[in-house]
Each structure stands twice: as C-alpha cells, then as structure tokens.
C-alpha cells in the first residue's frame, strides 16, 4: 500500500468533510489516520490516506480538482515507505499548559526549551482568548520526554520561563495507564 499525506484547508462551511471523503471513497482510498479542526474561520483537514494501486500523485488524475473549484486548497504528499507508521516513543508524556497576556514569542520560547532537550512535541494547540483590549494567549501541548528525563526537570525549566515570559505555566503527567 502506498501512503500519502493529504491536507485540505478552506473557508469553513457545512459539507466539506463529505465532499472530501466522497472523492476518497470513490477513488478507493483508505483513511488511515486523520485530524480535522476549525482554526479561525478555516476548516483544516490532515489525513494519511492509502491506496493499493496508485503509487504517486499523478495516479490521482485530478481527482481532487473539484475541491479546488469550490475554493479549498489541496496538498498531497507522497510518503516514503514506513512514513505512515507511528514511531515508538519511550519516555513519560506530559501536558504543558501556558497562558498569560498575549505577547510575541510565547510559542517559540517554550518550544525552544523543549527542542534543545530533545523533548518531542506530539500535539499543540493555541488560542487567543479574552477581549481585544486585554488579549490572553493559551497554549496546550503534549510532549514525550526523553527516556532519562523526569517530569520534575521539565517543571523546573518551565518555572524559570514563567518569570521570563510573565505567563502561567503548568506541567502534569498524562502518561497513559493500561488497565
């Protein structure tokens, strides 16, 4: 099976998901993994799809053109073998929430501290809330720590950032429990 990453984005309206999935169904694609959400006024779809016969982008022969014609932007990426597989990650999983008055660089400063320590961000959402006069920035991220790192260490690092950025940050373990 050849896998592809398909991203579609456009002004939100009812019917986008059915329009996209009808094309996938009729072309014989499987949806292996997907995440779709509304961001601002845009609906964004990210899907890993698979096809048993189509091997490259040209194989779709313009199947997605009708989407473009209704104002959606479509991007298709051909994955290398194994690119559809979730990597095995060993360490603790934590949820870091950051919120405070809006200022430039919140996402960058937090993610830089994590990236420098090989902490792998697996999910990230940000939102601007509050009023126009007093905007509040909220960021929630999930990250996998390197196997040797404890949650306490990342809490300490985030605590230092709290003062520098003048925001509130909390870190908690969300490592799944198997029952």
């Amino acid at each position: 099976m050849q896998h592809f990453a398909l991203t579609i984005i456009g002004r939100d309206r009812p019917g986008i998901v059915s329009q996209v999935t009808e094309i996938l169904y009729r072309t014989g694609c499987n949806i292996a993994d997907s995440s779709c959400s509304i961001l601002g006024g845009q609906f964004a779809m990210i899907l890993i799809i698979a096809h048993s016969e189509i091997a490259d982008r040209d194989g779709f022969c313009g199947a997605f053109l009708p989407l473009e014609e209704t104002g959606l932007s479509v991007f298709l990426r051909t994955l290398k073998p194994g690119g559809e597989k979730h990597p095995h990650m060993e360490g603790e999983i934590c949820l870091i929430s950051v919120y405070g008055s809006d200022k430039p660089g919140i996402v960058y400063r937090v993610s830089r501290e994590l990236g420098e320590r090989q902490v792998n961000i697996t999910d990230l959402n940000t939102k601007l809330i509050g009023t126009e006069q007093r905007p509040v920035y909220v960021m929630m991220l999930e990250a996998v720590l390197p196997p040797t790192m404890e949650i306490d260490e990342i809490s300490r690092i985030m605590n230092n950032l709290k003062n520098e950025l003048q925001v509130d940050i909390s870190v908690r373990s969300i490592t799944p429990v198997e029952l």
Partner: protein, 166 residues
C-alpha cells in the same frame, strides 16, 4: 490455573453484559485464579475482567500495589465476584488504555473515590472505600462486566504504543 489469551475488540464477548455468579464454587474460584494468572503474566496489567479472557461472568481482579501510581494507596490483590459500586464521589481524569483495545488511549473521567461491594474469593461479603488510581482501575474493570469499553467513555482519543513497564 492457566494464563488465558486476552480477547481483543471486536470480539463480541467484550460488548456483552456478564451474568451474576450465584455460587462461589470451584468453577468461580478457577475463574479468579485464571484472571490472576493472566494479569500477572502480562507483567504490566493492574486488572483483568472475566470477559477479557472469554468468560461472561461477573468477576474481576485488580492489583495496583506494584504500579508507580497505586503503590502508596491500595488494598493489595482484590478478587471480586459480583462487584457493585454503591457510592461515588468527585471526578478524576486519566488517560486510559486497555489490553483489549491495543495501541489506543483516551482521556476518561471517572469518580475520584468509590465504595465497592463485592464477594471475595473466600465467599465473604466485603465493602471497601477506595480512591485514586485503584478506584479508576476498579471502575474500568467493572465497566467490562457491563459490556462497556473505555472507548464508550472517552472525551478525546490519542494513538499510543504501550510501553511495557513493570
């Protein structure tokens, strides 16, 4: 005594409500032993319910005493026949996984503290109050007896590959 294979969804037995056990006889005792053997054999499990090993009777075993989260607050090995939650208090969200639904986890809100009534392996009626991780584990296992999986209770899903930890 025997380690039995864990049934994995979509095995229909996982969605069936289980039958009440009328007599704590040798057959019920053998079921409890199989549940214990299967739980210990998996190495990382803190509980197994009868339908997970292919038996539609109301029995579960739970032991969180060897896990990091439950080690300081537990009742040791609990063998429960016809368990019933008779009181619940507070809420607590954990990301749960299940041996019967591999490679998937989800955030589930459970009661923080529960009072459970059950018959133990010796046939004694018991009532315990439990909190924290043990309470979550008991609620998860008891759901299996009603044909419910954590997928019936999740608020969000995450794919995850379980780490085999002690």
């Amino acid at each position: 005594m025997a380690v039995r294979p864990i049934r994995v969804y979509p095995d229909p037995i996982l969605k069936q409500p289980c039958a009440v056990i009328d007599h704590c006889d040798a057959s019920a005792d053998a079921l409890l032993q199989d549940l214990i053997d299967t739980m210990l054999d998996s190495g990382h499990s803190v509980g197994v319910a009868a339908p997970q090993i292919g038996d539609s009777r109301r029995a579960v075993v739970v032991d969180v005493s060897k896990s990091k989260l439950g080690r300081d607050n537990n009742h040791g090995l609990l063998t429960m026949i016809n368990p019933q939650i008779i009181d619940r208090e507070g809420t607590h969200t954990m990301r749960e996984g299940c041996m019967s639904v591999p490679d998937y986890t989800g955030n589930v809100e459970r009661a923080q503290s529960v009072v459970v009534q059950f018959t133990d392996r010796d046939g004694c009626e018991r009532v315990i109050r439990t909190t924290g991780f043990e309470a979550v584990a008991i609620q998860h296992e008891l759901d299996h007896l009603d044909g419910l999986l954590f997928l019936d209770r999740v608020s969000s899903l995450k794919s995850d590959v379980f780490r085999r930890k002690g």
